[in-house]
Subunit: 453 residues, 2 copies
């Protein structure tokens, strides 16, 4: 790991301003790539633009490859169009399409018109697809030859590609039938030791290609059960259009799961980068917070209905947040277990009743334990056993409600075709808060003669 | 995607009980692998044991490969030792070591003594290392030959390995010096087209190996900046001991980030599997809940100190949970942004003051907006502008506190060598709850003459 050099950004900024492009490139190359990235994000937008304009395009491309697509698009947008196109030219087709796809259509078209014609053609091909289907995940950097081609003829091309740094991931060579359709594949390992006059047709074995609209889920399932490092993508007439690598699928899955995790926390603002203007960052976060304040208000309005009970037994106010927060915790545990079992494939949406049964038993047990604990505290504090029963009973009841919702709602959402991660966060919190307040205050109202004699 | 067949587990259970081992294997093979997994987790532990004992070991091995290590270890433990060892024999060395490493030492030794000697030797080698360093992530399924070996001599071995299903990931062949040390590597792509009499030494290029104690972080950095699909691992004398694949590193990183995400939610119970006994599941969740109830109690005790104020202005009870919950939301947004920027490399631990400054501006802005909103609601509801000022001011102040803690604590924890994800969850919630209650009630106490005239 590179030593931390907090001042790298200062050197970089002054070189971007006053040094030659060569000096800048040399200094940037001397930094570890994460150090370079950190330095870039200490610069303001104008300084970033100057830096990227003056860095060698290949270097700028590799740096932007480590940045989320939306942000890379924003940054490219600030460059002069020719400079931006030069950087895009140096990326692999998948990244090109992802970044261009995050731009407005017009901006993307402007960059495409300035890129090298081959690069632009490949990027356009991928842009036609959603980012998360085979067509959007594939790269067009593959090798395919007519099946009659000999090993000797292929060797030179293989050597050339092996020494390029252009995003080729060659693990097999594709063989095309005389009418140009995908006929088979030859893993490199099978080609080693074959005589120079051997033809691809002699070595090739059948391949099972996928269509450009195959979804991430299906691609992941393929790689789970097949050791191939890549899968070819064909159009309706079996023309080879691209190759999806295992790495691209793993990466897309990781992104998807990170996004899901942010949704679990209900943190839409997680996509924010702190170099963005304060007003924009504030606005993005407020969208989410405003929804939440309404939900919070709905839950808290339960308390307003019971102000009489509350002013008679003011000690209840201490237990209201405890009961609602604790139930939220219990519910989140159930959500986490359901999400994990869903993603591992141990449960499926139709298992909702079985899952509910399993949660009910744990919820009852934990509710009784926690209820007794909190009830005892309440009893001892105020010397009133009825207060203990009210508070402990409310926590026990609300724990059962929370685990029931937390365990089953992810499965129900999945069945409805929605993201199961949405189950936690606001839905769970609002319901457990409301029910918690309701249990404490309605139990207390019923026991009012004993609580406030 | 396979159609869902909710009843597959019933057929599987009856075949495991009464069918021949062959019938069972045939039926299991007819299921998609996720369907098979789902069916297995509908069975109770005894039925699972019977199923795994009677399935062909290769199939049982591939199924257990999809299960978290601890659970796979538990399940193997229920099998007869010979049966368990037969299943372990069919796994790649990395999985063997991960699963054996999750067992008690004695149990692991028993399995090792029953496994095939070569498999056991490889597993023992990997077991000596932590799971998350190169030694624990590497596989021992690689090909290495003396550098004088010719392509012709290697070809047969390559063909043999290509058709094995034993976890080989061959992308390059390693060349050993006359004294058996790692001398270089030859990518397969370079071997294609080479004459049969070419020696490895003629083709090999230098490789930069890693040591067995290299950490996941460093391996990930290597693969980020190098296109190789694998990196060789050597001991202190440069003997080749294994190979770490890009896939193994990606997988380990994904596991680490999932674990981190569960910590963010403070959900230790997420590792639970619902087939475990109710008491065990309940106990695991209670550990976490008990810590939380204490923290909750501490926060709520603030309310107990202000019972006088509260009973004078009972409407405050409605706003207490709103202020504390909303600040928790704001704080979590800041945590999420810090964690993301840390993981992307945009910020580093020493940036804590800069991050705090950026959070302060957004926190002030959002605090004022939310405070005005909530204050207006309070004013209109009770017709008392002072109540609005108290409630709104408390929310604004607590929002600033929450984003300051949420934004900076992850960096401080990282600097202390702790997991930054621990910042959210309990620490943040407890502090924002306490401060929220304190602001509302102390402001109200100060304004008491105006609030309860």
């Amino acid at each position: 790991m590179a030593a931390e050099s907090p001042r790298a950004w200062i050197t970089l900024r002054s070189l971007a301003e006053t040094g030659t492009s060569e000096e800048l490139g040399r200094y940037a190359r001397s930094l570890a790539s994460d150090e370079l990235l950190h330095a870039m994000f200490r610069l303001n937008r104008d300084e970033q633009t100057r830096l990227l304009t003056r860095l060698p395009p290949k270097m700028a491309a590799s740096m932007l490859g480590d940045v989320p697509n939306e942000l890379a698009a924003e940054i490219l947008d600030d460059l002069a169009p020719q400079d931006g196109a030069a950087v895009l030219n140096e990326m692999d087709s998948d990244s090109q399409a992802d970044i261009l796809g995050s731009m407005e259509r017009e901006e993307a078209e402007q960059f495409l018109s300035l890129m090298s014609p081959t690069e632009a053609e490949h990027a356009r091909l991928l842009l036609a697809y959603e980012a998360d289907v085979a067509g959007g995940l594939m790269i067009t950097e593959f090798l395919a030859f007519p099946e009659a081609t000999t090993i000797e003829q292929i060797t030179a091309e293989l050597k050339r590609v092996a020494h390029l740094d252009e995003g080729y991931h060659i693990d097999q060579i594709y063989a095309l039938s005389p009418d140009g359709l995908l006929a088979g594949a030859v893993p490199l390992i099978e080609m080693v030791g074959a005589g120079g006059s051997t033809r691809l047709a002699d070595l090739m074995s059948a391949v099972r290609p996928t269509k450009a609209d195959a979804e991430l889920h299906d691609l992941a399932a393929f790689f789970d059960h097949d050791r191939s490092p890549s899968i070819p993508v064909v159009d309706d007439r079996r023309h080879l259009v691209g190759v999806v690598t295992r790495e691209a699928v793993d990466h897309a899955k990781a992104m998807q799961s990170e996004e899901m995790q942010r949704k679990i926390q209900g943190i839409v603002g997680g996509d924010e980068i702190r170099t963005a203007p304060t007003l924009k960052r504030s606005a993005r976060r407020l969208v989410w917070l405003s929804i939440n304040i309404v939900l919070n208000g709905i839950a808290a309005s339960v308390i307003a209905f019971y102000q009489g009970t509350l002013s008679a037994v003011i000690a209840l106010a201490v237990f209201l947040p405890i009961v609602s927060d604790m139930s939220g915790c219990s519910g989140n545990q159930a959500v986490a277990v359901s999400l994990r079992e869903l993603s591992l494939g141990f449960i499926r949406p139709f298992d909702v009743l079985r899952v509910w049964g399993k949660e009910l038993s744990v919820g009852l047990l934990n509710g009784i334990v926690l209820g007794c604990l909190l009830g005892a505290v309440a009893w001892i504090w105020k010397g009133n056993p009825y207060l203990g029963v009210v508070v402990g009973g409310a926590l026990a009841a609300n724990t059962v409600v929370a685990v029931s919702i937390g365990g089953s709602v992810p499965l129900i959402l999945k069945r409805l075709g929605l993201d199961p991660a949405l189950a936690s966060g606001p839905i769970l919190t609002t319901v457990t808060d409301m029910c918690g307040f309701l249990f404490v205050l309605s139990f207390a109202t019923a026991a009012l003669p004993q609580l406030a004699p």
